[in-house]
Amino acid sequence: MTTTIATPTVVTPARIVRIGLSRIRYEIVTYFRQGDAVFFTFLFPVVMLTIFSVAFSNTSFGKDAAGHAVSAATYYLPGMLAAGVLLSGLQNLAIDIAGEKSDGTLKRLAGTPLSVISYFIGKIGRALITGILQAALLVLLAGVAFGVKIPTDPAKWLTLAWVFLLGVATCAILGIGLSALPRSGKSATAVIIPIVLVLQFISGVYLAFTNLPTWLQNVASVFPLKWLAQGMRSVFLPSTFQAAEAGASWNLSGVAIALGIWLVVGLVMARFTFRWIRKDS
């Protein structure tokens, strides 16, 4: 056979990144046109924070070092931030990609010179940007409407930044990995939402983590959301709350290690489970 290999013009790293960036834009534009996804992944934590802040507005959740009461809004903000990262990353991507697999989107993309890496850049970029918007909205709402004291210490913001970024990356990659779990787009919500919901209940999003029985805390400690929420608590809760945590410490190195391990697990999962299409099905 004579050689008919075209000059490689398509697969250069610069091109893959450039197309990846165009995917981010496309993903975000189309995401905000899907009302149900926007509500259940983008606005949901905002709604929950509002409900908790209003419902428990007369309840004190503890005192800071100066003896001031900690409000419900302050207490729930870290949990809702963590939940937002989980929803924008894991829940949204897992359901979205499962849907794209079953409705033919991925099959169409598979027939184009789009690199899988560009596609992933688009998905992770969308999770990151919608996640940042969501976190900004949560912090703004908490600060302006519910009088939550937003930290001014740059060290706290640095912690917030790395916990958030590592959290989004881990959750997004896990979302890509979990998208292989539902057998069809229709069953995707039914498969993914219970996982996400249970995690939220046992990881200190809706229920005070430090009040859970130790064995349940230990179970939750296997999963990434508990660590994500713990990292967020270290940013927004007074240092006096540290005493209630396991080992009486925010254990930020533990947060980094746990999220890092799950990131690697997610990468391996995504690597071995993601296919544009199921061949021969």
């Binding site: 290999i5 697969v11 189309t30 027939g111």
Partner: protein, 289 residues
């Protein structure tokens, strides 16, 4: 790059699905710049064949080369030279026509102009509409537009005009004529024989996982299949006679008195096709050189 190798080469192509033989050994070539149609009833193996060539399915046996590359191992550079119009899908369609085409154009090294393609498929007025708000036929035109946006050397069209009204089909045919004029190789599957006759020079007919016929559209089935049929009724009984010389035959026939309900029927492409796919025990043919 050589242009002398065929765009598509298929030898002994086989496909089994869990012990079921979907393809039993297909042989055909498609030359560069040639429009070629695959015809056949549902379940005959048309889509299996086209999806193997597009790289979506792995073959169980035989050889396949698409633009000189084994489709099972076709990389992104190879995909950049193809245009694929799949059978219809149910995508979300949360982008507008122009957004979708602009976005996909960015995947290709040398794409066509987006507005030109929108005009080609007749969607100028819908360019700013969300794809999910379009009718079925309009969405199908978006599929076709996405298939040609990358300026493909080889275009796969899997039942492209399903859901088109007659006018849209005519428009589509004009579009394909333009692509042919540019030298695009086209592999088309269709249920519409007039479409195959209109768009392609040669066709292959797949039935029961075999290629039962292949050749120029106007010789498919052979001269034999095109012999006219004279049909008439006499004494309440319908008679039929196949003859190369129907005029002579009818003249002789009328010597015995005027035949009732006399017809001379030239088998249409459809008749020939139905005859071909109806033969279940048909043996596969090799391509005539």
């Amino acid at each position: 790059m050589t242009t002398s190798t065929p765009a598509v080469e298929v030898r002994g192509l086989r496909k089994d699905y869990r012990g079921v033989h979907a393809l039993l050994g297909l042989d055909f070539d498609i030359q560069r710049g040639e429009p070629f149609a695959l015809l056949g009833p549902n379940g005959a193996g048309k889509s299996t064949t086209i999806e193997i060539l597009e790289g979506y399915r792995d073959r169980s046996g035989g050889e396949a080369r698409v633009l000189g590359v084994d489709p099972q191992h076709g990389g992104l550079d190879w995909k950049a030279r193809l245009g694929i119009v799949l059978q219809s899908s149910g995508e979300q369609g949360a982008a507008t026509v122009r957004e979708q085409l602009t976005h996909f154009a960015g995947f290709y090294p040398n794409p066509r102009d987006v507005d030109e393609v929108i005009a080609w498929v007749g969607l100028e007025e819908k360019a700013s509409s969300l794809i999910r708000k379009l009718s079925g036929g309009q969405r199908r035109r978006v599929d076709v537009a996405l298939g040609i946006i990358g300026r493909p050397e080889l275009l796969f069209l899997d039942e492209p005009t399903t859901g088109f009204d007659p006018e849209a089909r005519r428009q589509f045919w004009t579009l394909i004529e333009q692509l042919k004029a540019e030298g695009t190789t086209i592999l088309l599957t269709t249920h519409y024989l007039d479409e195959a006759a209109q768009l392609s020079d040669r066709a292959g007919i797949v039935a029961g996982g075999r290629l039962v016929e292949i050749g120029p559209i106007d010789t498919i089935g052979g001269a034999e299949a095109r012999i006219p049929v004279v049909r008439w009724t006499r004494g309440g009984i319908v008679h039929e006679e196949r003859t190369e010389r129907p005029g002579e035959f009818v003249a002789r026939l009328s010597d015995e008195g005027e035949p009732e309900r006399l017809e001379v029927i030239r088998p249409s492409l459809e008749d020939i096709y139905l005859q071909l796919v109806g033969k279940t025990d048909s043996t596969p043919v090799s391509e005539r050189a």
